[in-house]
Symmetry: C2
Subunit: 359 residues, 2 copies
Amino acid sequence: MAPETATGREERILGIIETARAKRPKFRDERITMSHGAGGKATQSLIEGLFAPAFDVGELADAATVALDGAQVALTTDSFVVKPLRFPGGSIGELAVNGTVNDLAVAGARPVALSLSLILEEGLDSDLLRGEVEAIANAARAAGVEVVTGDTKVVERGHADGMYICTTGIGLRDERAELSPSALRPGDRMLVSGSIGHHGMAIMLARDEFELEAEIESDTCSLWPAVDALLDAAGRSLRCVRDATRGGVGSVLNELARASQVAMLVREGDVPVDPAVAGAAELLGIDPMYVANEGRLVAFVAPEAAEAAVVALHDAGCEQAAEIGEVRTEPPAMVLVETAFGGKRVMDQLVGDPLPRIC
Amino acid sequence: MAPETATGREERILGIIETARAKRPKFRDERITMSHGAGGKATQSLIEGLFAPAFDVGELADAATVALDGAQVALTTDSFVVKPLRFPGGSIGELAVNGTVNDLAVAGARPVALSLSLILEEGLDSDLLRGEVEAIANAARAAGVEVVTGDTKVVERGHADGMYICTTGIGLRDERAELSPSALRPGDRMLVSGSIGHHGMAIMLARDEFELEAEIESDTCSLWPAVDALLDAAGRSLRCVRDATRGGVGSVLNELARASQVAMLVREGDVPVDPAVAGAAELLGIDPMYVANEGRLVAFVAPEAAEAAVVALHDAGCEQAAEIGEVRTEPPAMVLVETAFGGKRVMDQLVGDPLPRIC
């Protein structure tokens, strides 16, 4: 990317966005498209324009909290429709456990138990099912959760691509945690727990649609140890945590900037991207910032706690954890990227779906 | 059905079943078939032969209990793949709410909150989605639960038949309830909360595969008011409750008889079946006992509490609730039907799937 001068461009951006930001999107599409499942702009319009008003849901988070007999119970759900079912570094079963565990973790809840709902395709090889049941059991054991109940449906041949999995998790809100997008303050530091884009690129390459060979494995893993370490190190200075799944880090940042009406600045050069991922992404013309991760979190911490938080992540096994930016006041609800050359550009919400069926 | 003489037949039955019963089924099928999703024998073998050992799940119930910070939290999950999406008396959205609420209710838990995970088909008409979101919101309101979190995935055209819905529910164990198949005792009375087979027959007729016109509506509704009434009337004398969904009353009774190793006797003439349902079932050659219900429960109560329990059900709006049989000792793990003519036959587990994609 060519160097740019910062000031003029930033002013122009500020003008454009005045009208665009802050408004709640409406859901006006006549038909559902793949992009409604991509985690970007269309997903947002579906959630904010249709689901949130219908169910009277306020702050949209990865997990809801329900008070039950004094206990603060966190609840989260996810369906997994990834193609192919198995890929370097993981499989749909492992993903289904970790994805749900992670939604609890980033909500500041210790994952406790999962329910498992399978939609199987008629004709599915039983050994494949056996393998996924084993993968689920192993991932659950590794994440310290129990699979306690389930359901199985079967649909006719030609549907469900082998299997879809819906996992729902319950956890217990950690008393050290008070995480919310509304806790974000200008000056807060933005951290990422490792190098980004592995999961999405691994899936893309596993699909064999491209003549591209690279050793890239999914990053799927439980993020509770990382969140636990962050809570220990930063306590209430930990403002907000998200796992950067569908739509990648770029989508998560946009979602949070919109929700909290703050600005965000990402220093592109500080974002850890492995050479193999960077190379594949460049060849495919995809920005790694929008590529899905299944074992990476973005965390915001008060400036005074940032260094300790990064060290805590390193100690928790997240060797490539890094500070990659900060929260600002202007332009509200927007994410800006500072390029390696000092220029700035808007990192907008994802439009369309460059990587369908990634999780 | 022709009259039979009871004694000889019963002895023969006892001989046959000695070898068949009590063994845990193994899962040995090479491929998944529609019958694995039918709630009968194949489903049982999948659950008991594959899932239960892999996840180390003990007693298989409609909902699991998880202790969270002192609270006894009930958790249950269900995927809904019903065809067609809308049918007389309901739709997939309404079914998804009531089905999950009912799994909590029959486990003796007051339903509190739901998560909602949608798998949508590319090209789905947004108005159809809007209609189902509204149906979900209305059903949740009627059942006194909140939809607190969700997820949406989109799969390509030709998959998912418009939409699949996975709902997971959490509830709070009611202190009056101590329900379990292992609580069943010989002499306990078997109740059903209303006339059976409406849901399954409504779906069958809505599919237009048969040249058959009948005014049959799904029975989909929340069963918590009925369970609440039973708990009030019978307290700890209420042994066990199940909702008779996939596989109908016949499958639920078989499951319980196997789980508790008791025998059950159903008096066929006492089972409420509406004439329209009975007529359609006869024409299609299906026993209403195996037809799915989405708003009917089977309850077992101690003999001294049976009358009060039936009255309580009537008062709770279940006008056709009736006592239909009892628990016996012999033959263990089996369900027998006493016909209107005094003969007896085995009501076996369902084999195959006469009514696929019913919920």
